[in-house]
């Protein structure tokens, strides 16, 4: 038989395309410019600034009490932990020792915030890879935590419950019971997450071996939180620089070595179990005592520089304050976890397909106001 060679005029050509709307973050606040050749990604360039409010400049004009209120507009899913970061900076600078009650309540609320953030992430993660059911399961459980927050401080999202010097007011009488009820409920629901999504063959094929980040790259890119830990890089601030009540609870740092999208997924699921364990260790033993330490109405930090890091649901948040001794800071810098995590997106996406980018972007768990600030 004769074989004929068909001459083709098809040319391979690189071109630009705008990513999304896919992930909730790409509905207007984050623009990703993709350079692609066919369906292979050659380059990902984020275009930022759509929700930039110059919070760092606003801080230079505000008092320290006011700054706290700006921080939960950054990473609104870790609002309580963001507030805590600024409060800890001020308290450490003034050398105020917090009552035990404050430390324990802050830690419990931080862990509830982490669970709320991770359940939302889990819902969105499933939705991104085509499993719409997860979205409703995730939001169902998150709603219960938001109800606890609402009863505690009146707000469901931007909590502002922390103030420099303690808590705004004491916890609601129902707090302990409702938190325990939630934990009991959530312990039966979290295994459902695994049966619904983790074990799903299609899901595993979409995520295993996709978007691999090595440990060296994770450190070089300043990755933190679950993104860094999935690459085997031990970076939990709660372990390495404990604050509030983290020094008195036992928990495991969720570590994986694969560094792929599935590992980042597993780390977050593991973290929810650890958060449950931390809350269980503290909820029955909330010490009695004051919830505030008296501070001056006008807080002035001594001249100097202060740095405080905390572990938000997304990773390491750093607050760097330069004070000249006046009532306003001279310079405030927020080192946000999402900013560093976004910078490695190009690195893990190049060479993969557009569908892989959707999956790996979902496990970076980006919150754009946190990046734009």
């Amino acid at each position: 038989m004769e074989t004929t060679v068909v001459k083709s005029n098809f040319k391979s050509e690189e071109y630009f395309i705008n990513m999304g709307p896919q992930h909730p973050a790409t509905h207007g606040v984050l623009r990703l410019l993709l350079t692609i050749d066919g369906e292979i990604i050659k380059r990902v360039e984020p275009d930022l600034g759509y929700i930039h409010r110059s919070i760092e400049k606003m801080c230079e004009r505000d008092s320290y009490q006011q700054i706290v209120h700006l921080t939960d507009r950054m990473d609104y899913l870790s609002s309580h932990i963001n507030n805590e970061a600024v409060c800890l900076t001020v308290e450490n600078a003034l050398q105020l020792e917090m009552p035990e009650r404050v430390k324990v309540i802050r830690t419990i609320l931080s862990e509830l915030t982490r669970i709320a953030s991770h359940t939302l992430w889990w819902g969105v993660m499933g939705m991104d890879v085509g499993a719409l059911t997860t979205y409703f399961y995730g939001f169902r459980d998150r709603e219960l935590i938001n109800d606890i927050f609402e009863e505690t401080c009146g707000a469901r999202l931007t909590m502002n419950y922390n103030i420099p010097g303690g808590l705004m007011f004491d916890i609601h009488p129902n707090f302990v019971k409702r938190t325990k009820d939630f934990i009991t409920h959530f312990k039966t629901k979290l295994p459902e997450y695994d049966t619904l999504l983790t074990g799903n063959v299609i899901f595993q094929k979409r995520t295993k071996g996709v978007g691999i980040l090595t440990k060296e790259d994770a450190i070089s890119f300043g990755a933190s939180g679950p993104v860094g830990r999935a690459s085997g890089y031990s970076c939990d601030v709660r372990k390495h620089h404990p604050y509030s009540a983290y020094d008195r609870v036992t928990f495991n740092e969720a570590l994986k070595t694969e560094g792929d999208t599935f590992a980042r997924y597993q780390v977050r699921i593991q973290e929810m179990w650890e958060s449950i364990s931390i809350i269980e260790q503290l909820i029955d033993n909330i010490p009695e005592g004051d919830v505030q330490v008296a501070t001056n109405a006008v807080i002035k930090l001594p001249k100097g520089e202060y740095y405080q890091k905390v572990e938000t649901a997304r990773g390491e948040l750093g607050v760097y304050v330069i004070s000249t001794g006046t009532k306003n800071p001279y310079r405030v810098k927020f080192r946000s976890p999402g900013f560093s995590n976004l910078s490695l997106l190009n690195h893990i996406a190049v060479g993969g397909k557009i569908g892989d980018l959707v999956a790996s972007m979902a496990t970076l768990d980006l919150v754009i106001p946190d990046i734009d600030r």
């Binding site: 890119f221 890089y233 100097g304 520089e305």
Partner: protein
């Protein structure tokens, strides 16, 4: 490594550096723009220091100088150092980029360029990160004024 040991070791690489622990919980070292890149490479490469994590990079307007503060940590030794670099040139400030040492610096340096107007030599993609290319001035400088958008000057 203790702060004192760090200080002694770094002094053997580059003499006459200014060290300070006053008003800060970390060891601070101030370096001239000419020596910046050499010091940073040593801090990362040297086995005893091995500062492999740049966890924070901030621009600061000290008036009249502009500068950058680098927070470095070693993930093996768990010690921390703060490197500061200042330049008196406000018209055309330029510093060496550290992108080739820590890849996270690429985005952070673009942010500093955007807000403080400090140029970074050898940066692969130096352009504004958050603001539009047409934006005039650098908002986080202390002498920045915007008649429309700033409520309190």
């Amino acid at each position: 490594m203790t702060n004192e040991a760090l200080q002694n070791l770094i002094n053997t690489w580059i003499p006459d550096l200014e060290f300070s622990e006053e008003g800060s919980q970390f060891l601070n070292v101030t370096v001239t723009p000419e020596n910046l890149h050499q010091l940073m490479i040593e801090l990362k490469k040297n086995k005893e220091t091995s500062f492999d994590l740049l966890f924070c990079l901030s621009g600061v307007d000290w008036q009249p100088e502009l500068g950058v503060v680098y927070h470095l940590e070693s993930t093996t030794h768990r010690h921390i150092i703060v490197v500061k670099v200042k330049t008196a040139d406000r018209e055309n400030p330029a510093l060496d980029s550290v992108c080739d040492i820590w890849r996270t610096a690429e985005f952070h340096e673009r942010e500093v360029f955007d807000f403080f107007g400090i140029k970074f030599n050898n940066h692969p993609n130096l352009k504004r990160l958050f603001l539009t290319d047409e934006w005039e001035g650098f908002p986080l400088r202390k002498d920045y004024e915007d008649e429309i958008n700033m409520v309190i000057k």
